[in-house]
Symmetry: C2
Subunit: 237 residues, 2 copies
């Protein structure tokens, strides 16, 4: 049963465009509606010119903070009731976004943490497939810090390899080789003790799905879709 929602959701997108497209696609699939009017009003700023988040966190490139703040402000002026951003690493610049607007910002990191704790209350160790920006900004490490949960992320060669795979996905390469590479990195986290894997980068679910792994995969993009829809007062289809 689908209700109508008059809420407008602002989407800080384009990081990357394919992940934003996937977010939009999942919102449509999840708000099953018999007609146009039952769907969710989304204002999507697919801005691919936001400076690279990973380079910025590493101090090797310009900060995306001004661009993100401007996008957030524009979305608020255009009528957004709250904001979401289907990119984990960009959440390193969350403060700049929240300072630019007076509407709420729904964090993919916080929502994913809550979804994980809800579904796996006994969890002791989580493996997060995250980009270097997300890792170096300690986004998931900090989120789980108070929960007595160990957060494992790709290390050494795997971290380098993971970034290569993410940029290959961004370039349009969603081949079996890329999927196999992602799977191997997830399996290394499992070998190190992870009890479940979080896809903590929105490029990951473009190639890797739960059926690829022997343990549960929590997709941060899926979580954000569910949270976005729930907050709008719509039920999942």
């Amino acid at each position: 049963m689908n209700q109508r929602s008059q809420v407008t959701v602002g989407v800080l997108g384009g990081m990357g465009p394919e992940a934003t497209l996937s977010f939009f696609d999942k919102v449509l699939r999840t708000t099953a509606s018999p007609d146009d009017q039952g769907h969710l009003h989304l204002l999507i700023d697919n801005n691919p010119h936001v400076p690279d988040r990973n380079s910025a966190v590493a101090g090797r490139g310009p900060s995306p903070a001004p661009a993100l703040a401007e996008m957030a402000h524009r979305l608020e002026v255009a009528g957004a009731d709250y904001l979401v951003m289907p990119c984990n690493a960009a959440h390193a610049f969350r403060d700049a976004i929240e300072q630019a607007v007076s509407i709420p910002f729904l964090s993919i990191i916080d929502e994913t943490r809550e979804a994980v704790l809800r579904a796996f209350p006994q969890l002791g160790c989580v493996g997060v497939l995250a980009s270097t920006g997300c890792i170096d900004a300690n986004l998931y490490q900090d989120a789980f810090a108070a929960d007595n949960i160990t957060v494992l992320v790709p290390e050494g060669e795997d971290r380098v390899c993971f970034m290569d795979l993410v940029y290959r996905v961004k370039s349009g390469d969603k081949s079996d080789a890329v999927r196999a590479g992602m799977r191997a990195i997830a399996e290394a986290l499992i070998d190190r003790g992870a009890e479940l894997i979080v896809a903590g980068c929105t490029e990951v679910p473009l190639v890797l799905s739960g059926t690829d792994l022997p343990l549960p995969l929590v997709d941060s993009s899926d979580v954000l879709v569910q949270s976005t829809i729930r907050r709008a007062g719509l039920e999942s289809g």
Copy 2:
């Protein structure tokens, strides 16, 4: 080879959301880029609450003109350099959009006419799969009026059946039965003398493709994607 474009395209969307998603998807596929930054900046207002265009043209529902004008204005204020709208029938309210903004509006009807004339200069008769709103507002009939090209549209039972199929697609039904129904209506246009078929409704290509028909299918949604990208100064991938 992909150039960078600083252009921002405003998309009046949500009519329906699936057609807007498909437009976004096709833009990404067409602007092949090795990275995020080479893609096109799109501001997408996926507003599914725009009153039904077909009911409005038939005088059986509220006009979408105020909502479309407001969306166009918001997109201009948010920084759009020009506007596109991946919905043919809504072009019956084009005047309201153009009066609300000072930036150009790229018409799917005009662009499709030009693409058809470019590709088929000897054309004498075109069949257009169009919704009742698009037909009753004479959008394609008027567009081709000066070209000595006969415009055929679904008549009688076929027109009723086509609308049923469009609303089934909007409800998420992209089954073989829906495709077969669309194909039969296109074939009736061919039997009446159409030398090619225009998918003049953005729900059509969600189920029907060129390989389903014995004659060329010109997809208005594809044409709008190409025109949007060309105008941004980007080349197709």
